[in-house]
């Protein structure tokens, strides 16, 4: 294979038929170019979808109580399920291995006032872990910490929009704002990449709000993250277990989705990945169909080359060339043309993606690119394509009878 003689011959035929080689090579290069671009586009869509979810931890689970739709365990349908602080403690105790962060969430509204400015905002009273679960980015000050929680401190972390509304150009950190007439100290300002409305929100310690609202220990929603090393199956297994156990605890029928809902982000990812893998399959399918046209082109040029070189092949056979040596020669030439032109297409696509890919950053389409595995696959495909393209001409060449070839004067 790494024989100078063989390569000399390959280069010679290519040199003699520059235009023809270029045109057929172009079809293969173009096919690979399209294939890579299609795959990269699918990748870009996938990236876009994923970035939609990126402002929440992707390994998070939300448990929402609701109203039962079925009678169960002696209770009638239509009962409201209410989570309490004990539910969090219960989960903490039941799944010490599985969960990483956990937080309750208590919803409230607040009419906030600072000096002359007022506004109505939704308040989410949460545990300190909530920051990690929701990936809240605090741009100044800090988030609620354990001490705030234990002390039931009247502190608040406000969204950027809230800060703009109430404090205008003043630095809100350390200032006191009144929420429904009670003074809260602003300890931080946060932003949310995913959505502007989230920045019209206020976070406060859940313990504080529970006390303000009549010493309850009610919780509206429980959020938690699980071990990030879990794969999809394991994650789903965990959320199923969580669902079963929570339903049992609150006497909700196992199949009653309205009573308690457990939402695992992994499921959403599962849906997206099956969607994008269908797209990917379509991309690969279309790419391959175009590639087949290229392969036929290469096969065609090889048939012509063989026809032109019939006599030469006859001479070689008379001099003792074995049929498989002729086959190798033709196959190698075919693989060479296919692989080279394919690589040019590949590099071209790669270059374009490297330059222009990062410019795309819309929700539906983000940074289209190709992975190393795609490149390796494409390379293998090219070599196989080269073999396929050269196979028929090569067998034809090896069947050339030297006597016929030599009498062809």
């Amino acid at each position: 294979m790494f024989d100078r003689d063989i390569w000399q011959e390959i280069f010679n035929t290519i040199k003699k038929n520059k235009l023809r080689t270029f045109l057929t090579g172009f079809s293969v290069g173009w096919a690979i170019f399209i294939l890579v671009m299609l795959l990269a586009s699918v990748n870009g869509m996938q990236n876009g979808f994923y970035s939609q979810f990126n402002d929440d931890a992707t390994n998070s689970i939300i448990i929402r109580p609701g109203t039962t739709s079925e009678a169960y365990a002696g209770f009638e349908a239509g009962r409201r399920v209410q989570f309490k602080n004990e539910d969090i403690e219960f989960i903490e105790k039941s799944f010490p291995e599985d969960f990483v962060e956990i937080s309750g969430r208590y919803y409230a509204n607040a009419v906030a006032r600072y000096k002359a400015e007022t506004g109505t905002y939704s308040v989410q009273a949460v545990h300190p872990d909530h920051q990690i679960i929701e990936k809240t980015i605090v741009i100044s000050g800090r988030f609620i910490n354990e001490a705030d929680h234990v002390n039931k401190a009247k502190v608040a972390v406000i969204g950027r929009k809230v800060a703009e509304d109430l404090f205008d150009k003043e630095d809100p950190i350390g200032q006191f704002a009144e929420f429904n007439g009670l003074p809260f100290k602003v300890i931080g300002v946060f932003i949310d990449e995913g959505d502007d409305n989230a920045e019209r929100r206020i976070y406060a310690p859940i313990s504080t709000y529970q006390r303000i609202y009549g010493n309850t220990n009610d919780i509206n929603v429980i959020l938690l993250t699980y071990n990030p090393n879990y794969d999809l199956t394991k994650a789903l297994e965990f959320s199923d277990k969580l669902e079963t156990i929570m339903k049992r605890r609150h006497k909700v029928a196992p199949e009653d989705q309205a009573g308690i809902g457990v939402w695992n982000y992994a499921e959403a990812f599962d849906d997206i990945s099956s969607f994008t893998s269908v797209l990917k399959a379509i991309g690969i399918g279309v790419g391959f169909l175009i590639l087949i046209a290229g392969i036929v082109g290469i096969g065609n040029i090889m048939v012509f080359t063989i026809k032109e070189r019939t006599k030469e092949i006859g001479i070689r056979k008379a001099l003792g060339a074995r049929p498989n040596q002729i086959v190798n020669l033709v196959l190698l030439e075919s693989i060479f043309i296919t692989a080279l032109s394919g690589f040019i297409g590949l590099l071209f696509a790669w270059g374009i993606l490297a330059i222009f890919g990062p410019m795309f950053n819309t929700p539906a389409f983000t940074n289209p690119n190709v992975s190393a595995s795609t490149v390796i696959t494409a390379t293998i495909v090219l070599i196989i394509a080269g073999v396929l393209a050269g196979l028929i001409p090569a067998l034809k060449a090896s069947n050339v009878k030297p006597i016929v070839a030599l009498s062809d004067k």
Binding site: R316, A318, P402
Partner: protein, 233 residues
């Protein structure tokens, strides 16, 4: 060296069958220089093709250096051709994009001789035909006589048992023809067995034995007094 018994060959031409060789009995000893003569259609080229394993016979026996040549696979035929035979053609059949040296080295390549040794041997044979200085030239830069000498060097490079020459002087003028024959005679003097197909009487008389073919049978087989080509060069 060559032993042929009752060799028959016919070609199918549509519905007709053309009986070309009608029972050839023929043997060649080592070191002979044999001319095969005959008018066109006499079957001399067919005989040479069968001898050269480029074509098979319908019936009869053929032994080359004691080896029976019968029903060879393509691969086996290629090996035997490479090992036993050297070919010289009327139209030279050099590979036009290879230099003289590379052309001569080609049979050695198929013998799997290493690149260096191949080059050395090829250069040696080119030297023997007097074309050492032309080693790097392409066939298109050589005259007809030079091309045929390169072809002879190529045929000899593999050190075959038998050299088969099909009208080696057919495309050359008489002076160059004699030069080529002089070379063939010298190679024969070294003890090589050579078969020359020709229809030219003067060329045939430069061999040591003339076999006449007519209508697919040998009509005459005589040893002759060799005319040295040297005298005409």
């Amino acid at each position: 060296m060559i032993e042929i018994k009752d060799l028959h060959k016919s070609y199918k031409m549509g519905s007709n069958s053309l009986h070309v060789l009608k029972g050839i009995n023929f043997s060649v000893e080592e070191g002979e220089l044999v001319a095969i003569m005959g008018s066109s259609g006499s079957g001399k080229s067919t005989l040479l093709n069968i001898l050269g394993m480029l074509d098979g016979s319908d019936s009869g026996e053929y032994y080359l250096d004691g080896v029976p040549i019968k029903d060879l696979s393509e691969k086996k035929a290629a090996q035997y051709r490479n090992k036993f035979l050297g070919f010289v053609f009327q139209s030279f059949n050099l590979i036009n994009y290879k230099s003289a040296l590379e052309n001569v080295a080609l049979p050695l390549y198929y013998q799997k001789v290493g690149r260096r040794e191949r080059q050395d041997k090829a250069l040696n044979y080119l030297d023997r035909v007097g074309l050492k200085e032309w080693a790097t030239h392409l066939p298109s830069e050589l005259s007809g006589g030079q091309k045929q000498r390169v072809a002879i060097a190529r045929a000899m490079a593999a050190e075959p048992k038998v050299l088969l020459a099909d009208e080696p002087t057919g495309a050359l003028d008489s002076k160059t023809s004699y030069e080529v024959m002089d070379l063939i005679q010298k190679i024969n003097d070294d003890g090589n067995t050579i078969l020359v197909v020709t229809h030219e009487k003067d060329i045939a008389h430069m061999c040591k034995r003339i076999v006449h073919l007519r209508d697919g049978v040998i009509v005459e087989d005589t040893k002759i007094e060799q005319v040295r080509a040297q005298e005409y060069v």
